[in-house]
Subunit: 412 residues, 2 copies
């Protein structure tokens, strides 16, 4: 058997996924496995056992990130693979979990085939990627890459007032700062797309170009609160009517700029009483595009359009920037390796950008990084109905295996 | 002195108002005198003393409504005048208070001039007109006119779980059902306009034609919750974008139908998270017009327009009717009396409709009823900045005095 045809063990991979799917089950096809919860602890314990069974050197760092290291011929920089085992409170059983379990399967295949790689291979499970229990998301990867300070992360509290540090200690996953991964050649993360593109285009493998930049703004519209009964239409300064016109514009601008995505996800109306003309409305605008310049351009255009509406409606407008996150571009070497692997296996593949953030966003700052997307049926994610077909899981894992062999310099 | 030139005592009236303005003061120009509160009790106690000082026969009914009866030559039906002494939590010091205190001033003038009327005159303070503590509003007038049952009113609870019945007992204003006013010839209520029309048109006296009908609907727009990052624009079924287009239409329809007022006062977005496409939006539509047919026509037009938007936006639309309240028309005899009084005093006057509801709405069902509006500066009401000028208060009271003389058949 030629090494190029090395493949994962489908049954074993699906069996491993089945175990994961039973830990924190919602009983309705989904998972509730919030970061550092009891369910997360149970999953971590089993995962650590699996790593040890493969003879890996297991480390836990001071953010609870779990590493399993497989030695290479050199003690050089490692090829790291993985994602996260935590979920949303009513999440699916695939999401980032597939990235961790396919990474484990890659190790199992390398082991049973006695393959020695030039560089070490490390499997990683990052803590609190979802941000559902402790916000913001991607704390484990953000912590080790210097995007968040240790004090910041430790001080974050969940809805019940429990701090990250306390939660980490409670489940017994407080590790040592010296265990953080530092010398990394590549990071490769397999993940479900969470969108409909691969599914609609009947492609199996997504070669992720990067993570779309994402700007978030909060718009405050101030008019005048007044009573619906006595106030003639011409005397009104209705903040909600003005805001509604603005939201229509925020949506329409995507017709001008191909690939632009805008979303008003959050909106609050005050005083929010049936017979009172709203005096104040606040809403957010999320703008995404991989081209940083087009994204800024879109915002500047919107600012003009929204100001014009405010002027016509006699309301005041203030726009504050919550964040500007530039587009992350993945390493050509990793993208090429993914493309070649898909081609050699004969899997259909396409390039696409990721809308949501992933641990790879932060890892791209410290290593040549890339992501493999597998299809989400109907693009559904963060939902009990989330589904990635067994065939696609297997194919994605095969590609990951091949990419690891290539980047860790197994002699293919 | 001819009786036609009988006038109120401005200083006394303003002094009485000043006492009222000190009971439940917000310390900032307004009043917080919620129905059946300690402040309301204090005001009631003083008011009852004032009625007794004028030799009136005071009664309290089983809704806490207070009556002060001045005998007529006949023991026939009475001419009732008044309004309510309760306020919003951050209300003004004029509102319905003026209607009660000008009624008291009318009695004082009749007394000091030894005027005997044919019919009895009764001053009324209705309980919980505002609906701020116990919702719905106008409970006292609604109760005695059979619009609400006693069980319904007694069972209503405030935000702290205290029932209307309990609150009434606690302030010692639980009266007897036999004290309800029953035999009524007219009801006349002086009130601030709560809108800007008289102020803008520089008129002193509003001859209220009636209370505009008012329909309230709840619109539910159901799209699909999805993630802002991965979901292409063309795949979205964004409930908020669709709802925004609808709200613009709800506003624009007022350009088609003169005098129509539409308000979207309340709106809730789900899940209301910055990076999630809203899957469900609920909002209310308040429609007001004095012409019942035009109001129904406006709703039918809106239903078509909203359905078209729903179809184009691939969202589901359900509209439920919360209430349809027909227009109340006031009695020609009362309107004529108000007009004549204003003319004879040389006060500028105009006809207009009331947008908000008042105790007169229910009283119109049991007696020939009418309202006198006095100007609200800038139309501000239910607000500490609410202001009606002393001159306008005096003139309004003079008109009320004259109308009472006319309807109670003083020999003018």
């Amino acid at each position: 058997m030629e090494k190029t045809s090395l493949k994962v063990n489908r049954e074993r991979l699906l069996e491993t996924l089945k175990v994961s799917s039973s830990i924190g089950s919602t009983g309705n096809g989904g998972l509730n496995r919030l970061a550092l919860s009891e369910a997360d602890k149970n999953m971590r314990d089993i995962f650590v056992d699996w790593l040890k069974e493969e003879g890996l050197e297991v480390r836990i760092d001071d953010f609870g990130n779990i590493y399993g290291r497989r030695k290479g011929k050199k003690d050089g920089p490692s090829v790291a693979i993985g994602s996260h085992l935590d979920t949303q409170p009513c999440g699916g059983k695939y999401d980032g979990i597939l990235g961790v379990l396919t990474a484990l399967e890659v190790i199992r295949v390398l082991n049973e085939n006695d393959i020695e790689t030039e560089y070490p291979v490390e499997v990683i499970n990052f803590t609190n990627e979802e941000g559902a229990r402790f916000s913001p998301p991607m704390l484990g990867s953000g912590g080790i890459t210097g995007n968040f300070s240790k004090d910041f992360i430790y001080g974050l509290k969940d809805d019940e007032g429990i701090s990250f540090e306390q939660a980490l200690n409670e489940i017994n996953y407080m590790g040592d700062i010296k265990n953080r991964i530092t010398n990394i050649k590549n990071f490769i993360e397999l993940h479900i797309e969470q969108g409909p593109i691969l599914h609609e285009k009947h492609k199996t493998i997504g070669i992720v170009q990067g993570i779309q930049g994402n700007d978030l703004f909060t718009v405050k519209v101030t008019g005048k609160t007044n009573h619906a009964g006595p106030t003639p239409m011409k005397n009104r300064r209705d903040a909600l009517v003005a805001a509604s016109k603005m939201i229509v514009k925020v949506n329409e601008i995507t017709n001008e700029i191909p690939g632009l995505k805008t979303t008003v996800g959050k909106m609050n109306v005050r005083p929010n009483v049936t017979n009172v003309i709203p005096g104040e409305v606040e809403f957010t605008i999320d703008i995404r595009h991989e081209d940083n310049d087009l994204r800024s351009h879109a915002f500047e255009r919107l600012k003009e359009q929204l100001s014009a509406i405010a002027l016509m409606s006699e309301v005041e407008l203030t726009i504050t920037t919550d964040w500007n996150s530039e587009t992350t571009l993945f390493a050509p070497a990793v993208k090429d390796a993914i493309k070649n692997a898909a081609d050699e296996f004969g899997y259909s593949a396409m390039e696409l950008f990721s809308g949501p953030g992933h641990d790879s966003k932060y890892m791209a700052g410290v290593a040549d990084t890339g992501m493999i997307f597998v299809p989400s049926v109907d693009g559904i994610s963060h939902n009990e109905q989330e589904l990635t077909l067994d065939d696609d899981i297997e194919k994605g894992a095969n590609v990951l295996l091949h990419v690891v062999q290539k980047l860790a310099k197994d002699k293919l």
